[in-house]
Subunit: 210 residues, 2 copies
């Protein structure tokens, strides 16, 4: 299955600015993105980077500078002209593993599966989808999981919600970084562990620069 | 499978005090606990409430006022005298569903499964376990997921990590309440939706009293 991996190549992960400089944010975002691509490949899927700007990468790159939802819908529609299903996994799903991507259905082409599969993210987001109906339109603003549920219901198609801590965790704010140190497996945790350590503060786990 | 559900019957959910009064915290904690018990029952498991104080409940209640880890270990050890496996699911796993409890292995008695199954929670916690070796000792303080991993490794037994957004989400702080409104299915979401609505603030989802 082709899996679209949207990536902001310009000024990524701005909400990490309190703890990471601009160049660090780019390097860390690239590490997370490459971990996602590796997991998709290992699961038997074919990652396509959907980038806001031209980039060099060993995976195929599709450049689209339009709004995220518009760009994703176009990439999905092109895929569905030749395939039963198209996956979408956000590039900041730093805990993604081949195992969970496989469990999502990537690597198999099971047409009996739901028309729309949604992977909820903390805070009402949607971190990943499998789309089998090109009429479905994504929208990643606001409480996207509710919007996506409503869109599937109003189309009257089958909807599945996929339950995963790994795929449900994206990395947006400094409070997300402990998750990478605790559960990451690839380049992102390696990059982060070179610079930060876990610490507990008032019973809550946080990260501290070395 | 017997599933121990630890519950603080005294002053539960103190970190929700900024948004819920003391009586509200008790009512909400009970609603979450009863949702967990319902999900375990529906999955074919047998919930046992492990309470810090005597309480009335339709499920069996075991009272133990010792520290959480000590009380859990004693309940698990007693269970493993008569069974292959014992589950533990925290009472504030408000998104637990019968489906995910079943996927965890409750309702089946698959002795081929790992000696220790851990369900990571956000922030380094452990929200649920399946224990098949009574030598394993739990400890829910600090970064418990790391401590539990190390304990299993030092015993040299098989370790499985269970990937679930539903079981990985517990409800400790006001920032967790949107998750209940977005994904809850039972009494807890009903109780909460009578008092709070979802709202977005600066692009982040939060709750607001009606």
């Amino acid at each position: 299955m082709r899996v679209v991996v949207p990536f902001d190549a310009g000024d990524p992960k701005t909400r990490l600015a309190p703890v990471l400089g601009a160049e660090e944010r780019i390097a860390f975002a690239q590490a997370m993105r490459d971990d996602v691509c590796d997991s998709v490949l290992e699961a038997g899927g074919r990652p396509v980077l959907l980038s806001t700007e031209p980039i060099e990468h060993e995976c195929p790159v599709r450049v689209d500078e339009r709004a995220l939802g518009t760009a994703v819908d176009a990439a999905v529609a092109d895929t569905l002209e030749q395939a039963e299903a198209c996956g979408v996994v956000m590039a900041d799903c730093a805990l993604a593993s081949a195992e969970v991507i496989r469990r999502l259905g990537v690597g198999t082409e099971d047409a009996a599966d739901a028309a729309i599969t949604l992977v909820p993210a903390r805070g009402g987001g949607t971190n990943a989808l499998v789309i089998r109906d090109s009429r479905f339109e994504t929208d990643f603003h606001g409480v996207s999981i509710s919007d996506h549920r409503n869109a599937a219901r109003s189309m009257g198609v089958s909807l599945r919600e996929f339950d995963s801590y790994r795929l449900g965790t994206d990395v947006d704010v400094p409070g997300d970084l402990p998750e990478v140190l605790l559960h990451g497996r690839g380049r992102a945790v390696e990059w982060l562990a070179d610079r930060f350590t876990l610490t507990t503060n008032d019973g809550r786990v946080t990260v501290e620069r070395q």
